[in-house]
Symmetry: C2
Subunit: 191 residues, 2 copies
DNA sequence: CGCGACGTTGATTTGCCTCAACGATTGTGG
DNA sequence: CCACAATCGTTGAGGCAAATCAACGTCGCG
């Protein structure tokens, strides 16, 4: 069942009864997307927070020079969206796109508010998720400034061996903030 | 009074009665630090989340080559700590240090838990704070990769004119991920 | 008054980018 | 099922943004 992974994740942090889980189910929806399909687009309003049940997605920004910059990958058990756009209902800075055929559980704006009202424990659950995301994001900033591309690549492989195998190299280059050409050169000297 | 700013900030997001405010006061403490004093240190456990009532602080990491990298500044109304260390009670990756003599309100680990229990509305308040912090952090990642140093400096000045005036240039350089020498060169060509 | 903290300047080096071209797959429509 | 087009990774030559190292001037402060 699509909701198993999500409910297990929630229960690792807060209590959630079976009736609660039913409320959760009734206020969200399952969405399947094919490879390369957009879940939300830069410039549009991001209407959902997405929990990944299955598949692999990326969140990226296209800058003024038409260059793509990947902010985040997401695989099974991760969350992905343009949070600012979702919260403020203003045009998104990021596009969320499927890298593989994927199954998501989508949380709409109103429904999230109702969930918080009816299941206050979720407030805590999302707070914990946000804390983890912030910690990861801050670490990325430090790494991007304190390490050169070769070390960043090595760390990426250690930290995300699962993702490394599922996404093309040019996306990893984009995530690391370098060109595909340069990543290719990194890969050949030595290992 | 030291708590005014904090209580106003909380009330912008959730309801907080005067008795609630008293509970808040009783479970936190006011701390004054002098210029250059450490609030928490890299390698030690970060025991508090800090709300800045007055002053200016920075959060930075020292890497293997002994180079400093500033992750975040904080002035009046901001929060600063090593969140991962605080939550997990493990050695911190960052040092938090006062740039000016400062007044903080400190939230300890146990006390925060008790606050969540007694004032569940705070759970929501902190969730919103974390959302904002995560949005800012993600934007910084994108900017660090999509813009050159000159533009990053210009954006920093626009976005944080208050901070720009209060911290030395070499700290701004560190925050921008460049050397003080290079920032100096940026500043002179043209403005 | 002397010293440390801070900002600047010059010369040189380097990590990474740009542009261009070329194989190897993969996939897709006729 | 084949042919042709994308997609993806790699390689080479040349260029630029930013780092490094060293030196020097200025200010504020103990």
């Amino acid at each position: 069942m699509s909701y198993d992974l999500l409910i297990r994740q929630i229960r690792r942090h807060v209590a959630l009864s079976d009736p609660d889980a039913d409320i959760l189910r009734s206020l969200t929806r399952v969405k399947k997307v094919r490879k390369r399909q957009f879940v939300s687009e830069q410039g549009e309003i991001c209407r959902y927070e997405n929990f990944v049940v299955e598949g692999c997605l990326r969140c990226y920004h296209i800058d003024g020079k038409n260059a793509e910059h990947i902010v985040q990958f997401a695989v099974e058990g991760w969350w992905i969206s343009d949070l600012r756009s979702f919260m403020t209902e203003s045009p998104a800075d990021f596009t969320v796109e499927a890298i593989e055929p994927s199954t998501l559980i989508q949380f709409g704006r109103k429904e999230v508010e109702e969930l918080y009202r009816r299941l206050p424990a979720l407030e805590r659950f999302f707070r914990v998720m946000l804390q983890n995301a912030l910690v990861a994001s801050q670490r990325r900033i430090v790494d991007s400034y304190s390490e050169d591309a070769k070390r960043r690549y090595a760390e990426f492989r250690e930290r995300h061996p699962d993702i490394e195998k599922r996404v093309p190299l040019y996306m990893i280059a984009s995530y690391l903030g370098i060109t595909p050409e340069f990543l290719s050169r990194i890969r050949q000297d030595h290992n």
